[in-house]
């Protein structure tokens, strides 16, 4: 079998909370707690979940912007978790990130041309070809050459996101981690960016890790989808199966909660009780048992494992 582009094994990230008065009682926020998945070459893996489920932390660890507490990240078979900062810098050319907030992720004092050029400088792209490359990238993402001399504030949200994408593409990465790339955008602009991401994927054979909270967007763009809840992946499968035969009670509730733009559709809605528990003090056993309509006694005691129920369909629930 072909080695997957990315393989994540038992990844954990615990953030230490403020220590007690006497330095004792150290407690942790378990932002990501034992997450494993693979991303194949050329596919789009979607990570979906509500706020605080650890989807962004997972993306940041993959980028090596955060060091994992435990676990391994293999990039093309090579373990990158133990690499030094210098080694990482050379390999980071292979994976780039697109951020949520196009207003905050572009330096307001740099011209758009300089912003796109920066990764080229960092990764030693020949000086005489840089300008040409920048103009080409602007064109690729649907902007024009004259935009290079403008500052980010002169652009609309959608155009800024295009600049962010151009910057990510600059060094010809294999993997792009997109963390909520369209959630700050208006509906009509959102679809432009989603289409652009799809076109670029085809043109440059890109692999995406697409992190978002909007199920309809994730379903549209992804090949496979992982559903996260409180630091864990509760279900992972291809998007058709996830939509047609969701198995985990949380996935079912999440799917039924999404408002669908069709007024004739009358659905049986699964309303979950209560709020999402805090990741600093997650429930015992299965973290979902406090809100789960099917919870049994076993669920509050034993942590379920992510098991392969059918081919390529992973679920972490005691029901299966």
């Amino acid at each position: 079998m072909e080695t997957p582009l990315v393989e994540v094994k038992n990844l954990k990230k615990y953030f230490p909370k403020k220590k007690g008065l006497l330095g004792g009682n150290k407690s942790y926020v378990k932002a990501v707690d034992d997450v494993s998945f693979t991303i194949r070459k050329g596919e789009t893996l979607g990570l979906v979940g509500e706020s605080g489920c650890g989807k962004s932390t997972t993306g940041r660890m993959l980028m090596k912007l955060l060091d994992p507490t435990e676990g391994q990240i293999l990039f093309e078979g090579q373990d990158i978790t133990g690499l030094s900062d210098n080694q990482i810098r050379t390999i980071r050319k292979e994976f780039q990130m697109v951020f949520q907030d196009p207003y905050a992720s572009l330096n307001p004092r740099m011209k758009v041309g300089e912003i796109i050029e920066e990764p080229l400088i960092v990764h030693g792209y020949p000086k005489e070809k840089r300008q040409e490359r920048v103009l080409h990238l602007l064109e690729v993402v649907g902007l024009s050459a004259y935009h290079a001399d403008r500052y980010p504030h002169e652009f609309s949200g959608g155009q800024r996101q295009r600049v962010g994408i151009a910057r990510a593409l600059a060094v010809n990465p294999k993997l792009i981690i997109a963390d909520e790339p369209v959630s700050a955008l208006d509906v009509s602009i959102q679809s432009q960016i989603l289409n652009l991401l799809k076109d670029l994927q085809e043109e440059f054979e890109l692999t995406y890790l697409f992190i978002a909270h909007d199920l309809s967007v994730v379903e549209h763009i992804s090949d496979r989808v992982g559903v996260m809840y409180l630091g864990k992946i509760v279900e992972l499968t291809d998007k058709e199966t996830l939509y047609k035969e969701p198995l985990h009670p949380y996935t079912k509730a999440l799917l039924s909660a999404v408002p669908i733009p069709n007024p004739r559709l009358k659905r049986e809605r699964i309303l979950l009780k209560g709020d999402i528990p805090s990741p600093s003090n997650p429930p015992s056993g299965c973290t979902f048992h406090t809100r789960c309509p099917f919870a049994t006694e076993e669920c509050s005691k034993k942590v379920p494992k992510l098991k392969e129920i059918a081919k390529g369909h992973f679920v972490s629930c005691h029901l299966y």
Binding site: S188, I189, Q192, H213, S216, V217, E219, P261
Partner: protein, 329 residues
């Protein structure tokens, strides 16, 4: 025929700035009948929030001013009431829920006190009655341990709980009209489902009319009876919810509907509207949507179309459905 509760007619709210006048709301006509939920949809900057702030007369501390039109509510024109008269209506007959439950609650007052304030003012309850009423309202919106929560501060609650408190506060004086400005945008989907369910039940039980401002077409489809679509400060189309989703006439409405990905729908590409929403300082001539419209004609770039009745209870602002030859030279 349904009884009218609120009738906004040709409302114009303009903002003065150094660079000239920004016509944030420019000719908006919306009617809300008794017991009805009306959705106002549009993208950022289309003027939907300014419309609601105009109805509530909350523009006092901004450079914004209502410069034209009327806002009729139970025989009174809200656009021309004095601040004193408006105070009797605001929070009493018309209440509002905002998008950010954290920033719209006062962080230094206990939950109970914030609900009691309006109740004591409008319903003339004494302190004890007001407190009981506050607890009753908290229970009504599904807050557990209402007797304890009433003495807690907003920061102690989660986002969904805060939004429930906002709803409790808004519904405390049993308003006839509830204006909800993006009430669930800041919430997670499963919490959004809870809040929408709550709003639907409350409006049914109490006969409250809702004006629901949102950009989420899914929320509109689930909640609303009628839909008003806005673009660049104007109403471009209005019809009942089924007509809007099944037989939209304005190219913008159509484009908007096609650009949303829908669950379970297998399409390779989304349709999208090219270009960007025009900025207030850079409004195109003629129809404001013309530069992005796929069906643009000569006249569109020259003259602004009017909002015309094209079918029973279906209005649309587009030259496609208006008699040509009205171009005045």
């Amino acid at each position: 025929m349904a009884e009218k509760l609120l009738e906004i007619k040709n409302l114009q709210t303009h903002f003065k700035s150094d660079r000239g006048v920004v016509k944030a709301v420019d000719d908006v006509t919306i009617t809300v009948n008794k017991g009805e939920t009306v959705g106002v949809v549009g993208e950022s900057g289309c003027g939907k929030s300014v419309t609601s702030l105009s109805v509530m007369r909350l523009l006092k501390d901004t450079p914004g001013k209502i410069v034209g039109g009327t806002i009729e509510f139970e025989g009174k024109d809200l656009a021309h009431l004095s601040e004193k008269e408006m105070r009797l209506i605001r929070g009493n007959d018309i209440a509002m829920i905002f998008q950010e439950p954290m920033t719209s609650l006062n962080p230094v007052y206990k939950i109970g006190r914030q609900i009691e304030e309006a109740v004591m003012l409008h319903l003339k309850y004494d302190k004890k009655q007001a407190r009981e009423h506050a607890i009753k309202m908290l229970k009504l919106v599904g807050i557990p341990r209402a007797e304890e929560i009433v003495d807690e501060f907003p920061y102690q609650l989660s986002g969904g709980m805060r939004q429930r408190v906002m709803i409790a506060m808004a519904m405390a004086c049993n308003p006839k009209l509830l204006i909800a400005d993006e009430p669930t945008t800041a919430l997670d989907v499963t919490i959004q489902a809870q809040i929408l369910d709550l709003m639907r039940n409350l409006s049914k039980e109490r006969g409250t009319s809702i004006m629901m401002i949102t950009h989420d077409l899914g929320v509109v489809a689930e909640m609303c009876d009628r839909v008003v679509v806005m673009y660049a400060g104007k109403v471009v189309e209005e019809a009942d919810v089924f007509t809007i989703f099944e037989n939209p006439k304005h190219p913008y409405t159509e484009g908007l509907l096609n650009s949303v990905p829908k669950l379970g729908q297998k399409i390779k590409r989304l349709e999208s509207i090219p270009g960007n929403v025009p900025t207030p300082g850079n409004m195109p001539q003629g129809c404001k949507f013309a530069p992005r419209c796929g069906k643009v004609m000569d006249i569109c770039t020259k003259q602004d179309p009017e909002l015309k009745m094209i079918d029973k209870d279906h209005t649309c602002r587009c030259w496609l459905y208006q008699e040509s030859g009205v171009l005045e030279v």
